[in-house]
């Protein structure tokens, strides 16, 4: 196998990609997803942690209170988030409908130490961004009231949970897991999936457009052609993944071990690319090959996700700086799979070219 032949084939595929400007679509896609995920984060933050949005933080909401006076009413008066009005139920609901109140609470005259629970009724506006925020703020007050009631009824409990004092969380932190535990492995791994779909296209195209004979009549051998295409796809992976990492870092997401992440992605993407190449060589027709390969892809990814310290998990750990020496073991295991698949691909390609010559 001559490396010059490999690079010729790889170059040919690259220029094909560039002239079709399809690679532009891939870059556009990355930008699009990055934009959308940032939208998602801001949107979710405003929903779950409204205090993080300054425009809502120092605003007092009007809350109506109807029914019996309880300790809850007292703590609502104490809360900096609410302006509480004592009113009767019907007036309150009417005011809520006109948006003069943000919420209305009705309390029954159940004693704190009664057998039955205290059942509050909370009226809020349906399908409204503001109610979601008020709900989150009211939740704190309700939780305090629940704790007080539980204290009153404590002697009726047979077992107490072990105490653990958790300080109130300051600032965000809610999306750390989303970003590092889902977004980064997903985005960094996406080029690997794109590359493996690409290898199928590149190989089946030669068959379905009947361009194979022309190619094989040149000094390039069949297996050199296959490996050249594999090379082209493999080179794309670290480049694309690298762009991702740079984009994420530009968004203010600190990523540790970027080099190691690219190394791991490049090696594990070879598994997928070789699988794709094998399927394509076998079926020589895009629909069938893509169908079988996509199903196999789901199986492989689901299976590896179910294993502890899988390559995707390693990406997460590397990006937060938590990967130890076990990463080299995993890398070695993945490289082992690559070697087996590479051997199979080589043998299969040789067999096909023998049949072609015969």
């Amino acid at each position: 196998m001559k490396s010059r032949h490999l690079s010729i084939i790889a170059k040919k595929e690259f220029s094909g990609l560039l002239s079709e400007r399809t690679i532009l679509l891939a870059v556009l896609l990355q930008l699009f997803v990055a934009l959308f995920s940032s939208f998602l984060m801001v949107g979710l933050t405003s929903m779950y942690d409204p205090a993080s949005l300054s425009q809502y933080s120092r605003f007092k909401y009007n809350v109506g209170y109807a029914g019996t006076d309880t300790d809850l009413l007292y703590s609502l008066y104490q809360s900096p988030d609410f302006r509480v009005y004592r009113m009767d139920l019907s007036t309150g609901v009417a005011a809520l409908k006109e948006r003069k109140l943000a919420a209305l609470i009705w309390a029954p005259d159940t004693r704190p130490d009664a057998e039955e629970p205290v059942k509050l009724t909370l009226y809020t506006l349906q399908n409204d961004l503001q109610s979601a925020i008020v709900d989150v703020k009211l939740k704190e007050v309700f939780l305090n009231y629940e704790r007080d009631l539980r204290q009153v009824r404590a002697d009726r409990l047979s077992e107490q949970p072990m105490p653990l004092e958790i300080p109130p969380a300051r600032g965000a932190g809610e999306f750390f897991e989303f970003v590092y535990g889902l977004l980064i492995p997903l985005l960094v791994f996406m080029p690997a999936i794109i590359a493996s779909a690409l290898i199928i296209d590149l190989i089946t195209e030669e068959y379905q457009h009947d361009t194979l004979e022309t190619l094989v009549s040149t000094p390039v051998t069949f297996s050199e052609m296959v490996w050249g295409k594999i090379l082209a796809c493999e080179v794309l992976v670290p480049v694309q993944a690298g762009i991702w990492l740079i984009l994420l870092m530009a968004n203010g997401i600190a990523i540790q071990n970027a080099g190691l992440i690219l190394l791991h992605v490049s090696v594990s993407s070879l598994v997928l690319i070789l699988l794709g190449a094998l399927t394509a060589l076998h079926y020589r027709e895009r629909t069938a090959a893509q169908f079988i390969f996509s199903t196999a892809l789901v199986v492989v990814i689901l299976f590896s996700l179910a294993l502890p310290s899988n390559p995707m998990n390693l990406l997460t750990r590397l990006s937060v700086g938590m990967a130890g020496t076990e990463q080299w073991l995993v890398l070695a295991a993945v490289a082992g799979v690559v070697v087996i698949l590479a051997y199979a691909t080589q043998k299969y390609a040789e067999r096909i070219s023998r049949i072609n010559q015969a």
């Binding site: 399809t22 029954p108 205290v118």
Partner: protein, 602 residues
């Protein structure tokens, strides 16, 4: 009747062809893979998904706490004595010492703290739900009642502060006060039912069960009763799974359709079909029919499987239609498999985002209704939606699908199918084909009218995209993008005509062509607005997109002026003048919008 028979025949061919192609030693492998898939799904359900294992590094001196933390895979737990623990505390994300949780002062530390908080809450719940006296452990229950406000969403949406200005006394409603009976102090469900629900909600350990529960939780017996800790908006990540359960098979099947179209074009295999005396529309419908029915069958099976109401099929039909229309166009446009792959991946990502992201906010905001999936989420929750909601969220899908089908049908012929030109050139040719040579002005009028659904769709995406940016920034972005999208839509017809026949445009013809385009755009815009978008157009965002319902001559003048700018640039500099022309038109458009919004705001 003849057309119907043709359609059925072609549909039969299509099915037969795809089966003969499939059978080539594909079936055995497909079956093996399917069995493997089931096995792997079972395996991963058992062992859980290990994506976030070992993210946090924590340490404690308490054995019980260590056990509690170690039950969560995300923690790497170290058990230490008091002294070493305190000395080495800075090397951990979080330590627990003497019942006190101390996070490190980093983003990661805070995130670890939140995770501990959740794990601890789960543990506390598991202790409390074991109590004989449930109402001593859970003494407070909240019955949540949603009230529909007669006032519109305008206030919250425009980012204004909601609520009354501070006043001395309690707020007094201006309208009639309806008498409302005080709610009963007793719970309407039994203690055991409540306990079961609590156990269920705390046992949601694995990520997978959390999602599967969400799919089947449409019929909760609990009604509206919640403990205080359950009082927060429903978890939106569940709709991720909803999307993938329904959309992924659709996307997959439409790939087959795309490929079938592409296969006709490779090596001119489809030529025979074109020589038959069958109308092209019959060929297209016939080829599409099996896929449409297949997708519908998949959706029906899924609906049956998760036991959801039949109503959720209704919003899915336009989505299927839209997917197929796009598959058809993509299959006809792509020159190579690579191009097919990239375009289809791009399309599916964009379409999935459009469908999925709004539905996250299903319970929160009316904007979420722009995605038909929101209707599905609502149906599963048991929330009713109206025919107007259906029209609102699906009309764009119907319209864009129909227009794409029309373009495909007009171009489904030899010289288009088998040409090898670039993507952009081909797109222009496709457009050129539907612009009639005999009635160019009528064609321009209709074309710009029919770009409206696409413009709205793109603008809706911008709306979603920019909705949560900080206020001035989101307005500016929306302003620029909305103007640019509209200018492109208006200019594209003239551009196509110009490239087809540069000599065609004299000064007089330019004026008439611009007039026709502007009029078509205006009429299309107002018509669609009238039907669907009243709700959105009330807000500040809407007012940028669909400004000026009141007077008609002003927007007409604007459209006319902007198209004229583009046309003049084309005339002056040829095809190279298109981009600068668009730029100038965009600026003009923005100034116009700014003037009106500033006037409106001031």
């Amino acid at each position: 009747m003849g057309a119907l028979a043709d359609i059925v025949t072609i549909a039969k061919w299509e099915v037969k062809k795809s089966f003969t192609m499939m059978s080539r030693d594909m079936l055995p492998l497909a079956i093996i893979l399917f069995v493997l898939l089931v096995a792997v799904t079972g395996f991963s359900a058992q062992s859980g998904l290990h994506l976030q294992d070992g993210m946090y590094n924590v340490a404690t001196n308490d054995r019980a706490v260590a056990e509690l933390l170690a039950s969560d895979n995300r923690f790497t737990v170290t058990l230490l004595d008091n002294n070493p623990l305190w000395v080495t505390r800075s090397s951990y994300d979080l330590i627990v010492m003497g019942g006190q949780v101390i996070p490190s002062n980093t983003e990661k530390g805070r995130s670890a703290l939140k995770t501990v908080e959740r794990d601890y809450a789960k543990y506390v719940n598991s202790v409390y739900t074991r109590q004989d006296d449930l109402f001593a452990a859970y003494p407070l229950w909240i019955d949540t009642q949603g009230i529909t406000s007669e006032l519109s969403f305008t206030a919250t949406q425009s980012g204004q502060r909601v609520g009354t200005p501070p006043s001395r006394g309690p707020p007094v409603p201006a309208g009639i006060i309806e008498e409302i009976a005080p709610p009963s102090p007793a719970l309407s469900v039994t203690e055991e039912e409540l306990r079961q629900q609590l156990v269920q909600s705390t046992s949601k350990d694995t990520q997978i069960s959390r999602y599967t529960d969400a799919l089947s939780s449409g019929t909760s017996t609990m009604g509206t009763f919640k403990t205080p800790s359950q009082l927060s908006p429903p978890l939106p990540f569940d709709s991720i799974i909803l999307v993938f359960v329904f959309i992924f098979p659709l996307y997959f099947t439409s790939q087959f359709f795309m490929m079938s179209i592409m296969n006709e074009r490779i090596e001119r295999k489809g030529e025979i079909l074109l020589t038959t005396p069958v109308k092209t529309s019959s060929i297209i419908i016939g080829k599409m029919l099996p896929y449409f029915l297949g997708m519908l069958a998949i959706c029906t099976a899924l609906t049956l499987w998760i036991g959801a109401p039949w109503l959720i099929l209704l919003p899915l039909i336009p989505v299927i239609f839209f997917f197929l229309a796009n598959a058809l166009i993509i299959g006809m446009l792509a020159r190579s498999f690579k191009e097919l792959s990239f375009i289809s991946i791009f399309f599916s990502t964009v379409a999935t985002s459009y469908l999925f992201f709004p539905s996250i906010f299903a319970n929160v905001h009316v904007v979420s209704l722009i995605s038909p999936l929101t209707l599905i989420v609502l149906t599963m929750q048991g929330t009713a939606w109206t025919a107007a909601d259906y029209l609102y969220s699906t009309s764009l899908f119907w319209l864009t699908g129909a227009v794409l089908f029309y373009i495909a049908a007009r171009n489904f012929k030899e010289e288009r199918l088998f040409s090898e030109k670039g993507l952009v050139t081909r797109m222009r040719e496709f457009l050129s084909e539907i612009l009639s040579r005999n009635h160019p002005f009528m064609a321009l009028f209709l074309l710009s009218g029919f770009t409206i659904p696409f413009v709205f769709m793109v603008q809706m995406m911008c709306l979603v995209l920019f909705f949560n940016l900080p206020m001035p920034l989101s307005l500016i972005c929306l302003l620029l993008f909305a103007a640019l999208v509209e200018e492109i839509a208006k200019g594209i017809g003239i551009y196509t005509l110009y490239l087809r026949d540069p000599g065609f445009f004299t000064a007089k013809i330019i004026l008439i062509a611009c007039g026709a385009t502007a009029l078509g755009f205006l009429i299309g815009e107002k018509l669609l607005l009238f039907v669907t978008l009243a709700e959105i157009s009330d807000s500040v965002f809407g007012s940028i997109l669909f400004l000026s319902l009141g007077s008609l001559w002003l927007p007409l003048l604007l459209h006319f002026g902007c198209v004229l700018i583009v046309a003049c640039c084309l005339k002056k500099w040829g095809a190279r003048g298109f981009a600068p022309g668009l730029g100038i038109a965009m600026v003009v458009h923005c100034c116009y919008n700014l003037y009106f919004i500033l006037g409106w705001l001031g």
